[in-house]
Protein backbone atom coordinates (compact mmCIF):
# COMPACT_ATOMS: atom_id res chain seq x y z
CA UNK A 1 0.00 0.00 0.00
CA UNK A 2 2.86 2.30 0.67
CA UNK A 3 3.86 2.16 -2.98
CA UNK A 4 0.77 4.07 -4.00
CA UNK A 5 1.19 6.83 -1.48
CA UNK A 6 4.98 7.08 -1.51
CA UNK A 7 6.36 10.53 -2.14
CA UNK A 8 7.69 11.11 -5.61
CA UNK A 9 11.48 10.98 -5.52
CA UNK A 10 13.26 14.24 -6.28
CA UNK A 11 16.62 13.20 -7.64
CA UNK A 12 19.47 15.66 -7.83
CA UNK A 13 19.93 17.10 -11.32
CA UNK A 14 23.69 17.30 -10.85
CA UNK A 15 23.89 13.62 -10.04
CA UNK A 16 21.68 12.70 -12.96
CA UNK A 17 23.92 14.75 -15.23
CA UNK A 18 27.00 13.01 -13.84
CA UNK A 19 25.52 9.52 -14.27
CA UNK A 20 24.51 10.26 -17.84
CA UNK A 21 27.89 11.80 -18.61
CA UNK A 22 29.69 8.71 -17.37
CA UNK A 23 27.29 6.67 -19.49
CA UNK A 24 28.51 8.58 -22.55
CA UNK A 25 32.23 8.57 -21.74
CA UNK A 26 32.78 5.12 -20.25
CA UNK A 27 31.96 3.03 -23.36
CA UNK A 28 34.37 5.04 -25.54
CA UNK A 29 37.20 3.90 -23.30
CA UNK A 30 36.04 0.31 -23.36
CA UNK A 31 35.02 -0.41 -26.97
CA UNK A 32 38.15 0.95 -28.61
CA UNK A 33 36.40 3.98 -30.10
CA UNK A 34 39.00 6.25 -28.55
CA UNK A 35 41.84 4.14 -29.86
CA UNK A 36 40.41 4.34 -33.37
CA UNK A 37 40.00 8.12 -33.02
CA UNK A 38 43.63 8.54 -32.01
CA UNK A 39 44.97 6.32 -34.76
CA UNK A 40 42.66 7.98 -37.31
CA UNK A 41 44.17 11.32 -36.43
CA UNK A 42 47.67 9.86 -36.84
CA UNK A 43 46.72 8.34 -40.18
CA UNK A 44 45.46 11.69 -41.44
CA UNK A 45 48.52 13.54 -40.22
CA UNK A 46 50.86 11.11 -41.98
CA UNK A 47 48.64 10.96 -45.07
CA UNK A 48 48.75 14.70 -45.67
CA UNK A 49 52.28 15.33 -44.49
CA UNK A 50 54.33 12.52 -46.04
CA UNK A 51 53.16 12.70 -49.68
CA UNK A 52 52.59 16.46 -49.83
CA UNK A 53 55.66 17.76 -48.00
CA UNK A 54 57.73 18.06 -51.18
CA UNK A 55 54.88 18.90 -53.55
CA UNK A 56 53.54 21.75 -51.42
CA UNK A 57 56.82 22.78 -49.82
CA UNK A 58 57.61 24.94 -52.85
CA UNK A 59 54.46 27.06 -52.43
CA UNK A 60 54.57 27.49 -48.65
CA UNK A 61 56.70 29.80 -46.52
CA UNK A 62 58.46 28.05 -43.69
CA UNK A 63 57.91 24.44 -42.63
CA UNK A 64 55.01 22.48 -44.10
CA UNK A 65 54.29 20.89 -40.70
CA UNK A 66 53.58 24.35 -39.30
CA UNK A 67 51.37 25.10 -42.29
CA UNK A 68 49.45 21.83 -42.10
CA UNK A 69 48.83 21.62 -38.34
CA UNK A 70 45.64 23.77 -38.12
CA UNK A 71 43.78 21.66 -40.67
CA UNK A 72 44.82 18.47 -38.83
CA UNK A 73 43.50 19.90 -35.57
CA UNK A 74 40.25 20.82 -37.34
CA UNK A 75 39.81 17.40 -38.96
CA UNK A 76 40.45 15.72 -35.63
CA UNK A 77 37.75 17.69 -33.82
CA UNK A 78 35.42 17.15 -36.77
CA UNK A 79 35.79 13.42 -36.22
CA UNK A 80 34.78 14.03 -32.62
CA UNK A 81 31.72 15.90 -33.93
CA UNK A 82 30.89 12.95 -36.16
CA UNK A 83 30.97 10.57 -33.26
CA UNK A 84 28.71 13.02 -31.40
CA UNK A 85 26.21 12.70 -34.24
CA UNK A 86 26.51 8.94 -34.23
CA UNK A 87 25.90 8.82 -30.48
CA UNK A 88 22.87 11.09 -30.48
CA UNK A 89 21.38 9.24 -33.46
CA UNK A 90 21.93 5.90 -31.73
CA UNK A 91 20.30 7.23 -28.54
CA UNK A 92 17.34 8.40 -30.53
CA UNK A 93 16.90 5.26 -32.64
CA UNK A 94 17.33 2.90 -29.68
CA UNK A 95 14.61 4.80 -27.85
CA UNK A 96 16.63 5.74 -24.79
CA UNK A 97 15.60 9.37 -25.29
CA UNK A 98 11.92 8.39 -25.04
CA UNK A 99 12.74 6.41 -21.97
CA UNK A 100 14.44 9.42 -20.37
CA UNK A 101 11.46 11.61 -21.15
CA UNK A 102 9.21 9.23 -19.25
CA UNK A 103 11.43 9.56 -16.18
CA UNK A 104 11.80 12.47 -13.76
CA UNK A 105 14.74 13.98 -15.67
CA UNK A 106 14.82 17.61 -16.80
CA UNK A 107 14.61 17.94 -20.60
CA UNK A 108 18.05 19.48 -20.94
CA UNK A 109 19.95 16.98 -18.78
CA UNK A 110 20.54 14.25 -21.41
CA UNK A 111 21.68 16.92 -23.87
CA UNK A 112 23.95 18.48 -21.24
CA UNK A 113 25.43 15.08 -20.47
CA UNK A 114 26.04 14.31 -24.13
CA UNK A 115 27.64 17.70 -24.63
CA UNK A 116 29.90 17.14 -21.60
CA UNK A 117 30.97 13.88 -23.20
CA UNK A 118 31.62 15.77 -26.42
CA UNK A 119 33.74 18.39 -24.64
CA UNK A 120 35.78 15.55 -23.20
CA UNK A 121 36.10 13.95 -26.61
CA UNK A 122 37.14 17.27 -28.22
CA UNK A 123 39.78 17.84 -25.54
CA UNK A 124 41.23 14.39 -26.28
CA UNK A 125 41.08 15.16 -30.01
CA UNK A 126 42.96 18.41 -29.45
CA UNK A 127 45.63 16.70 -27.37
CA UNK A 128 45.98 14.00 -30.05
CA UNK A 129 46.30 16.56 -32.83
CA UNK A 130 48.97 18.52 -30.93
CA UNK A 131 50.80 15.29 -30.21
CA UNK A 132 50.87 14.27 -33.89
CA UNK A 133 51.70 17.85 -34.84
CA UNK A 134 54.73 17.76 -32.57
CA UNK A 135 55.77 14.47 -34.14
CA UNK A 136 55.93 16.00 -37.63
CA UNK A 137 57.61 19.20 -36.40
CA UNK A 138 54.91 21.68 -35.44
CA UNK A 139 55.72 24.10 -32.58
CA UNK A 140 54.00 27.01 -30.80
CA UNK A 141 56.06 30.14 -31.44
CA UNK A 142 54.05 32.79 -29.58
CA UNK A 143 53.53 33.25 -25.86
CA UNK A 144 51.52 31.05 -23.51
CA UNK A 145 48.40 33.22 -23.85
CA UNK A 146 48.31 32.63 -27.61
CA UNK A 147 48.90 28.91 -27.14
CA UNK A 148 45.93 28.85 -24.77
CA UNK A 149 43.99 30.86 -27.34
CA UNK A 150 44.82 28.25 -29.98
CA UNK A 151 43.57 25.42 -27.75
CA UNK A 152 40.43 27.33 -26.76
CA UNK A 153 39.58 28.15 -30.37
CA UNK A 154 39.99 24.49 -31.42
CA UNK A 155 37.82 23.39 -28.49
CA UNK A 156 35.19 26.00 -29.29
CA UNK A 157 35.06 24.88 -32.92
CA UNK A 158 34.83 21.25 -31.78
CA UNK A 159 32.03 21.99 -29.32
CA UNK A 160 30.04 23.98 -31.87
CA UNK A 161 30.42 21.26 -34.48
CA UNK A 162 29.52 18.58 -31.93
CA UNK A 163 26.38 20.52 -31.10
CA UNK A 164 25.47 20.61 -34.79
CA UNK A 165 26.33 16.91 -35.01
CA UNK A 166 24.09 16.16 -32.01
CA UNK A 167 21.29 18.12 -33.69
CA UNK A 168 21.70 16.22 -36.97
CA UNK A 169 21.73 12.95 -35.03
CA UNK A 170 18.45 13.92 -33.34
CA UNK A 171 16.62 14.32 -36.65
CA UNK A 172 18.17 11.38 -38.49
CA UNK A 173 16.61 7.95 -38.73
CA UNK A 174 19.78 6.00 -39.39
CA UNK A 175 22.93 6.35 -37.25
CA UNK A 176 25.31 5.07 -39.94
CA UNK A 177 23.84 7.29 -42.64
CA UNK A 178 24.37 10.28 -40.33
CA UNK A 179 28.10 9.68 -40.27
CA UNK A 180 28.22 9.81 -44.05
CA UNK A 181 26.07 12.94 -44.23
CA UNK A 182 28.73 14.65 -42.11
CA UNK A 183 31.89 12.92 -43.32
CA UNK A 184 31.73 13.95 -46.95
CA UNK A 185 31.16 17.70 -46.63
CA UNK A 186 33.67 17.94 -43.80
CA UNK A 187 36.39 16.12 -45.73
CA UNK A 188 35.75 17.97 -48.97
CA UNK A 189 35.47 21.38 -47.30
CA UNK A 190 38.59 20.50 -45.33
CA UNK A 191 40.71 20.07 -48.44
CA UNK A 192 38.98 22.89 -50.36
CA UNK A 193 40.47 25.41 -47.93
CA UNK A 194 43.78 27.17 -47.39
CA UNK A 195 44.65 24.44 -44.88
CA UNK A 196 46.67 22.26 -47.28
CA UNK A 197 47.88 24.73 -49.89
CA UNK A 198 47.63 28.49 -50.56
CA UNK A 199 44.48 29.67 -52.34
CA UNK A 200 46.49 30.58 -55.46
CA UNK A 201 46.98 26.87 -56.18
CA UNK A 202 43.26 26.37 -56.81
CA UNK A 203 41.60 27.15 -60.16
CA UNK A 204 40.70 30.85 -60.37
CA UNK A 205 36.93 30.51 -60.28
CA UNK A 206 36.87 28.70 -56.93
CA UNK A 207 39.44 30.88 -55.13
CA UNK A 208 36.91 33.33 -53.60
CA UNK A 209 35.04 30.37 -52.11
CA UNK A 210 38.24 28.77 -50.85
CA UNK A 211 39.36 32.00 -49.17
CA UNK A 212 36.11 32.83 -47.42
CA UNK A 213 34.68 29.47 -46.34
CA UNK A 214 34.67 28.69 -42.64
CA UNK A 215 37.54 26.20 -42.67
CA UNK A 216 39.89 28.78 -44.19
CA UNK A 217 38.86 31.38 -41.62
CA UNK A 218 39.49 28.87 -38.82
CA UNK A 219 42.83 27.88 -40.34
CA UNK A 220 43.93 31.53 -40.73
CA UNK A 221 43.06 32.28 -37.10
CA UNK A 222 44.80 29.15 -35.78
CA UNK A 223 47.88 29.74 -37.91
CA UNK A 224 48.17 33.28 -36.54
CA UNK A 225 47.79 32.03 -32.97
CA UNK A 226 50.43 29.33 -33.41
CA UNK A 227 52.98 31.62 -35.05
CA UNK A 228 55.87 30.62 -37.28
CA UNK A 229 59.64 30.22 -37.09
CA UNK A 230 60.19 32.59 -40.01
CA UNK A 231 57.79 35.23 -38.68
CA UNK A 232 55.72 35.13 -41.86
CA UNK A 233 52.48 34.22 -40.05
CA UNK A 234 49.96 37.03 -39.57
CA UNK A 235 49.76 38.65 -36.13
CA UNK A 236 46.67 37.36 -34.28
CA UNK A 237 44.63 40.58 -34.10
CA UNK A 238 40.84 40.85 -34.31
CA UNK A 239 40.79 41.11 -38.08
CA UNK A 240 42.25 37.57 -38.24
CA UNK A 241 40.46 35.97 -35.28
CA UNK A 242 37.20 37.90 -35.77
CA UNK A 243 35.89 36.07 -38.87
CA UNK A 244 36.46 32.67 -37.22
CA UNK A 245 34.52 33.73 -34.13
CA UNK A 246 31.82 35.27 -36.31
CA UNK A 247 31.37 31.94 -38.10
CA UNK A 248 31.01 30.14 -34.76
CA UNK A 249 28.49 32.69 -33.47
CA UNK A 250 26.60 32.43 -36.76
CA UNK A 251 26.39 28.63 -36.54
CA UNK A 252 25.29 28.92 -32.89
CA UNK A 253 22.58 31.47 -33.70
CA UNK A 254 21.09 29.08 -36.26
CA UNK A 255 21.64 25.79 -34.40
CA UNK A 256 20.41 26.69 -30.89
CA UNK A 257 16.85 27.77 -31.85
CA UNK A 258 16.69 24.84 -34.26
CA UNK A 259 17.60 22.49 -31.44
CA UNK A 260 14.92 24.05 -29.24
CA UNK A 261 12.41 23.49 -32.02
CA UNK A 262 13.45 19.84 -32.44
CA UNK A 263 13.29 19.19 -28.69
CA UNK A 264 9.83 20.74 -28.43
CA UNK A 265 8.50 18.88 -31.45
CA UNK A 266 9.65 15.52 -30.07
CA UNK A 267 8.06 15.86 -26.66
Amino acid sequence: MTALTAVRPSPSTIRQWWVLTVRVIAPTLRNGELLIAISLSGVFTASYYVPLKQVMGAFVHGSYAQYLMPVIALQTVYFAAMSAALRSATDKVDGINRRFRSMPIPVMTPLAARMSGNVCRCAIALATAILWGYVIGFRFYRGAEYTIGFCLLVLLIGITMSFVGDLIGMVSKDPEATTYILLLPLLILGVLSVGIQPAEQFPGWIQPFVRSQFNSQFVDALRALAGDATGSAAWPNWSVIGPALAWLVGVGVIAVPLYGFVLRRRR
Binding site: V43, A46, V50, E176, A177, Y180, L192, Q197, F202
Partner: protein, 286 residues
Protein backbone atom coordinates in the same frame (compact mmCIF):
# COMPACT_ATOMS: atom_id res chain seq x y z
CA UNK B 1 -0.77 -21.03 -53.28
CA UNK B 2 1.63 -23.69 -52.12
CA UNK B 3 0.83 -27.29 -51.70
CA UNK B 4 2.85 -30.30 -50.85
CA UNK B 5 3.09 -32.86 -53.62
CA UNK B 6 3.25 -36.29 -52.06
CA UNK B 7 5.66 -37.88 -54.47
CA UNK B 8 8.01 -34.92 -54.18
CA UNK B 9 8.22 -35.09 -50.40
CA UNK B 10 11.31 -37.22 -50.42
CA UNK B 11 14.34 -36.23 -48.40
CA UNK B 12 16.76 -34.00 -50.28
CA UNK B 13 14.09 -32.87 -52.77
CA UNK B 14 12.37 -29.53 -52.86
CA UNK B 15 8.87 -30.46 -51.69
CA UNK B 16 7.14 -27.13 -52.34
CA UNK B 17 5.19 -26.47 -55.50
CA UNK B 18 4.29 -22.89 -56.13
CA UNK B 19 1.33 -22.67 -58.50
CA UNK B 20 2.00 -19.01 -59.07
CA UNK B 21 5.41 -19.87 -60.48
CA UNK B 22 5.03 -23.25 -62.16
CA UNK B 23 8.26 -22.82 -64.09
CA UNK B 24 10.37 -23.49 -61.03
CA UNK B 25 11.51 -27.07 -61.26
CA UNK B 26 10.52 -28.59 -57.95
CA UNK B 27 11.97 -31.98 -58.65
CA UNK B 28 15.56 -30.84 -58.46
CA UNK B 29 17.63 -31.13 -55.32
CA UNK B 30 18.20 -27.90 -53.46
CA UNK B 31 21.92 -28.23 -54.12
CA UNK B 32 21.73 -28.81 -57.87
CA UNK B 33 23.95 -26.62 -60.07
CA UNK B 34 21.00 -25.43 -62.15
CA UNK B 35 19.22 -24.12 -59.06
CA UNK B 36 22.46 -22.45 -58.03
CA UNK B 37 22.42 -20.40 -61.22
CA UNK B 38 18.73 -19.61 -60.88
CA UNK B 39 18.92 -18.68 -57.19
CA UNK B 40 22.05 -16.61 -57.65
CA UNK B 41 20.29 -14.68 -60.39
CA UNK B 42 17.19 -14.10 -58.24
CA UNK B 43 19.23 -13.05 -55.21
CA UNK B 44 21.41 -10.74 -57.29
CA UNK B 45 18.27 -8.96 -58.45
CA UNK B 46 17.05 -8.83 -54.86
CA UNK B 47 20.29 -7.23 -53.65
CA UNK B 48 20.41 -4.70 -56.48
CA UNK B 49 16.81 -3.68 -55.82
CA UNK B 50 17.52 -3.44 -52.11
CA UNK B 51 20.66 -1.33 -52.62
CA UNK B 52 18.80 0.85 -55.08
CA UNK B 53 16.30 1.70 -52.37
CA UNK B 54 18.96 2.50 -49.79
CA UNK B 55 20.02 6.15 -49.98
CA UNK B 56 23.38 5.53 -48.35
CA UNK B 57 24.34 2.78 -50.78
CA UNK B 58 23.29 4.82 -53.80
CA UNK B 59 25.27 7.84 -52.58
CA UNK B 60 28.32 5.71 -51.87
CA UNK B 61 28.21 3.78 -55.12
CA UNK B 62 27.22 6.43 -57.62
CA UNK B 63 27.63 9.96 -56.26
CA UNK B 64 30.61 9.70 -53.91
CA UNK B 65 33.32 8.50 -56.35
CA UNK B 66 32.60 11.22 -58.92
CA UNK B 67 32.37 13.92 -56.24
CA UNK B 68 35.64 12.64 -54.85
CA UNK B 69 37.25 12.86 -58.29
CA UNK B 70 36.04 16.41 -58.87
CA UNK B 71 37.29 17.64 -55.51
CA UNK B 72 40.64 15.82 -55.78
CA UNK B 73 41.11 17.39 -59.19
CA UNK B 74 40.24 20.84 -57.86
CA UNK B 75 42.57 20.61 -54.90
CA UNK B 76 45.54 18.62 -56.16
CA UNK B 77 45.17 18.86 -59.95
CA UNK B 78 47.47 21.84 -60.47
CA UNK B 79 50.34 21.03 -58.06
CA UNK B 80 50.41 17.31 -58.93
CA UNK B 81 50.34 17.95 -62.69
CA UNK B 82 53.29 20.31 -62.15
CA UNK B 83 55.44 17.62 -60.50
CA UNK B 84 54.36 14.61 -62.58
CA UNK B 85 54.83 16.13 -66.05
CA UNK B 86 51.44 14.98 -67.39
CA UNK B 87 47.85 15.69 -66.38
CA UNK B 88 47.16 14.52 -62.80
CA UNK B 89 43.89 13.08 -64.11
CA UNK B 90 45.70 9.95 -65.34
CA UNK B 91 46.35 9.13 -61.70
CA UNK B 92 43.32 10.66 -59.98
CA UNK B 93 40.60 9.13 -62.19
CA UNK B 94 41.86 5.55 -61.56
CA UNK B 95 42.18 6.45 -57.87
CA UNK B 96 38.56 7.61 -57.73
CA UNK B 97 37.34 4.47 -59.50
CA UNK B 98 39.33 2.22 -57.14
CA UNK B 99 38.42 4.10 -53.95
CA UNK B 100 34.79 4.05 -55.04
CA UNK B 101 34.99 0.30 -55.66
CA UNK B 102 36.60 -0.44 -52.29
CA UNK B 103 34.78 2.02 -50.10
CA UNK B 104 31.42 1.34 -51.72
CA UNK B 105 31.48 -2.20 -50.42
CA UNK B 106 31.22 -0.93 -46.82
CA UNK B 107 27.63 0.06 -47.59
CA UNK B 108 26.87 -3.45 -48.82
CA UNK B 109 28.73 -4.82 -45.78
CA UNK B 110 26.45 -2.81 -43.49
CA UNK B 111 23.50 -4.09 -45.52
CA UNK B 112 24.69 -7.65 -44.88
CA UNK B 113 24.95 -6.95 -41.14
CA UNK B 114 21.40 -5.65 -41.17
CA UNK B 115 20.16 -8.77 -42.95
CA UNK B 116 21.90 -10.91 -40.37
CA UNK B 117 20.31 -8.98 -37.50
CA UNK B 118 16.86 -9.01 -39.09
CA UNK B 119 17.17 -12.79 -39.44
CA UNK B 120 16.84 -12.73 -43.22
CA UNK B 121 19.96 -14.86 -43.67
CA UNK B 122 18.62 -17.42 -41.21
CA UNK B 123 15.33 -17.41 -43.09
CA UNK B 124 17.07 -18.23 -46.38
CA UNK B 125 19.01 -20.96 -44.63
CA UNK B 126 15.85 -22.88 -43.71
CA UNK B 127 14.17 -22.36 -47.08
CA UNK B 128 14.97 -24.53 -50.10
CA UNK B 129 17.46 -21.98 -51.41
CA UNK B 130 20.84 -23.07 -52.71
CA UNK B 131 23.19 -22.23 -49.89
CA UNK B 132 26.02 -20.97 -52.06
CA UNK B 133 23.70 -18.52 -53.81
CA UNK B 134 23.80 -16.10 -50.87
CA UNK B 135 27.49 -15.37 -51.20
CA UNK B 136 27.69 -15.75 -54.98
CA UNK B 137 24.84 -13.31 -55.52
CA UNK B 138 26.61 -10.82 -53.28
CA UNK B 139 29.68 -11.04 -55.49
CA UNK B 140 27.76 -10.65 -58.74
CA UNK B 141 25.81 -7.71 -57.33
CA UNK B 142 29.13 -6.14 -56.33
CA UNK B 143 30.38 -6.52 -59.91
CA UNK B 144 27.33 -4.62 -61.18
CA UNK B 145 27.74 -1.89 -58.56
CA UNK B 146 31.46 -1.42 -59.19
CA UNK B 147 31.00 -1.39 -62.95
CA UNK B 148 28.28 1.26 -62.69
CA UNK B 149 30.38 3.47 -60.44
CA UNK B 150 33.51 3.00 -62.59
CA UNK B 151 31.60 3.98 -65.74
CA UNK B 152 30.34 7.12 -63.98
CA UNK B 153 33.86 7.99 -62.81
CA UNK B 154 35.16 7.38 -66.34
CA UNK B 155 32.56 9.75 -67.82
CA UNK B 156 33.37 12.40 -65.19
CA UNK B 157 37.04 11.97 -66.06
CA UNK B 158 36.31 12.36 -69.78
CA UNK B 159 34.46 15.60 -69.05
CA UNK B 160 37.38 16.87 -66.95
CA UNK B 161 39.90 16.12 -69.71
CA UNK B 162 41.00 12.46 -69.44
CA UNK B 163 41.64 10.86 -72.85
CA UNK B 164 42.08 7.21 -73.75
CA UNK B 165 45.07 7.37 -76.05
CA UNK B 166 45.26 3.59 -76.44
CA UNK B 167 41.86 3.02 -78.03
CA UNK B 168 38.54 1.48 -77.04
CA UNK B 169 39.70 -2.06 -76.12
CA UNK B 170 42.16 -0.50 -73.67
CA UNK B 171 39.34 1.62 -72.24
CA UNK B 172 37.29 -1.53 -71.63
CA UNK B 173 40.29 -3.20 -70.00
CA UNK B 174 40.65 0.00 -67.91
CA UNK B 175 37.14 -0.64 -66.56
CA UNK B 176 38.01 -4.24 -65.72
CA UNK B 177 40.76 -3.23 -63.28
CA UNK B 178 38.53 -1.59 -60.62
CA UNK B 179 36.07 -4.49 -60.98
CA UNK B 180 38.79 -7.08 -60.25
CA UNK B 181 40.26 -5.01 -57.46
CA UNK B 182 36.87 -4.18 -55.95
CA UNK B 183 35.66 -7.80 -55.99
CA UNK B 184 38.84 -8.89 -54.18
CA UNK B 185 38.32 -6.20 -51.57
CA UNK B 186 34.66 -7.06 -51.19
CA UNK B 187 35.85 -10.45 -49.91
CA UNK B 188 37.75 -8.53 -47.23
CA UNK B 189 34.84 -6.25 -46.41
CA UNK B 190 32.42 -9.18 -46.22
CA UNK B 191 34.81 -10.94 -43.84
CA UNK B 192 35.06 -7.84 -41.66
CA UNK B 193 31.30 -7.31 -41.69
CA UNK B 194 30.74 -10.88 -40.53
CA UNK B 195 33.13 -10.55 -37.60
CA UNK B 196 33.11 -6.86 -36.55
CA UNK B 197 30.49 -4.67 -34.90
CA UNK B 198 28.66 -2.20 -37.03
CA UNK B 199 30.41 1.09 -36.32
CA UNK B 200 33.89 -0.40 -36.46
CA UNK B 201 33.46 -1.59 -40.07
CA UNK B 202 33.10 1.81 -41.70
CA UNK B 203 35.83 3.34 -39.57
CA UNK B 204 38.38 0.59 -40.04
CA UNK B 205 37.68 0.50 -43.78
CA UNK B 206 38.02 4.29 -43.79
CA UNK B 207 41.52 3.96 -42.34
CA UNK B 208 42.49 1.21 -44.80
CA UNK B 209 41.19 3.16 -47.80
CA UNK B 210 42.81 6.42 -46.64
CA UNK B 211 46.19 4.71 -46.27
CA UNK B 212 45.89 2.97 -49.64
CA UNK B 213 44.88 6.24 -51.27
CA UNK B 214 47.40 8.65 -49.78
CA UNK B 215 50.34 6.28 -50.08
CA UNK B 216 49.92 5.33 -53.71
CA UNK B 217 51.45 6.50 -56.95
CA UNK B 218 48.02 7.70 -58.08
CA UNK B 219 48.07 10.50 -55.51
CA UNK B 220 51.53 11.97 -56.15
CA UNK B 221 54.43 10.52 -58.19
CA UNK B 222 56.65 7.98 -56.47
CA UNK B 223 59.67 10.32 -56.32
CA UNK B 224 57.75 12.73 -54.06
CA UNK B 225 57.65 10.26 -51.20
CA UNK B 226 60.57 10.04 -48.75
CA UNK B 227 63.01 7.26 -49.67
CA UNK B 228 62.23 4.99 -46.74
CA UNK B 229 58.58 4.61 -47.67
CA UNK B 230 58.98 4.40 -51.47
CA UNK B 231 59.18 0.56 -51.59
CA UNK B 232 55.88 0.31 -49.68
CA UNK B 233 54.21 2.86 -51.94
CA UNK B 234 55.54 1.20 -55.05
CA UNK B 235 54.42 -2.32 -54.22
CA UNK B 236 51.07 -1.80 -52.54
CA UNK B 237 48.03 -3.11 -54.45
CA UNK B 238 46.46 0.23 -55.27
CA UNK B 239 49.64 1.61 -56.84
CA UNK B 240 49.84 -1.37 -59.17
CA UNK B 241 46.19 -1.00 -60.14
CA UNK B 242 46.68 2.73 -60.78
CA UNK B 243 49.80 2.08 -62.86
CA UNK B 244 47.97 -0.52 -64.94
CA UNK B 245 45.12 1.92 -65.53
CA UNK B 246 47.54 4.76 -66.30
CA UNK B 247 49.22 2.50 -68.88
CA UNK B 248 45.85 1.67 -70.43
CA UNK B 249 44.83 5.31 -70.81
CA UNK B 250 47.97 7.42 -71.22
CA UNK B 251 50.38 4.70 -72.34
CA UNK B 252 53.27 2.95 -70.66
CA UNK B 253 53.91 -0.43 -69.08
CA UNK B 254 50.71 -2.43 -68.62
CA UNK B 255 51.64 -6.09 -68.40
CA UNK B 256 53.66 -6.12 -65.18
CA UNK B 257 51.37 -3.84 -63.11
CA UNK B 258 48.41 -5.87 -64.40
CA UNK B 259 49.99 -9.15 -63.29
CA UNK B 260 50.76 -7.67 -59.89
CA UNK B 261 47.21 -6.33 -59.55
CA UNK B 262 45.80 -9.76 -60.36
CA UNK B 263 48.21 -11.40 -57.90
CA UNK B 264 47.28 -9.00 -55.11
CA UNK B 265 43.57 -9.45 -55.82
CA UNK B 266 43.90 -13.23 -55.89
CA UNK B 267 45.86 -13.22 -52.61
CA UNK B 268 43.29 -11.04 -50.81
CA UNK B 269 40.40 -13.13 -52.14
CA UNK B 270 42.03 -16.48 -51.32
CA UNK B 271 42.98 -15.34 -47.81
CA UNK B 272 39.37 -14.39 -47.14
CA UNK B 273 37.52 -17.30 -48.73
CA UNK B 274 37.54 -19.59 -45.70
CA UNK B 275 36.64 -16.91 -43.11
CA UNK B 276 33.85 -15.64 -45.38
CA UNK B 277 32.29 -19.05 -45.86
CA UNK B 278 32.55 -19.95 -42.17
CA UNK B 279 31.32 -16.51 -41.09
CA UNK B 280 28.39 -16.59 -43.49
CA UNK B 281 27.39 -20.02 -42.27
CA UNK B 282 27.55 -18.82 -38.67
CA UNK B 283 25.59 -15.67 -39.47
CA UNK B 284 22.91 -17.77 -41.17
CA UNK B 285 22.59 -20.26 -38.33
CA UNK B 286 22.33 -17.74 -35.54
Amino acid sequence: MTSVADEAARPGRVPLYDHARPLIDQTRAESSPRLLVLHTWVQTQRLLIRWGHDVQTVIQALILPSTFLVSINLVFGKPVSAVSGHSALYGSVPMAALVGAVFGSTASGICLMREREEGLLARFWVLPVHRASGLLSRLSAEVVRILASAVLVMCTGLVLGLRFEQGIPAALAWLAVPVTFGVAFSFLVTTLSLYLVNTMLAESMGIVVALLFFFSTGFVPLAQYPGWIQPVVEHQPMSYAVEAMRGLSLGGPVLWPMIETLLWSACIAVACVAPVVIGYRKASMR
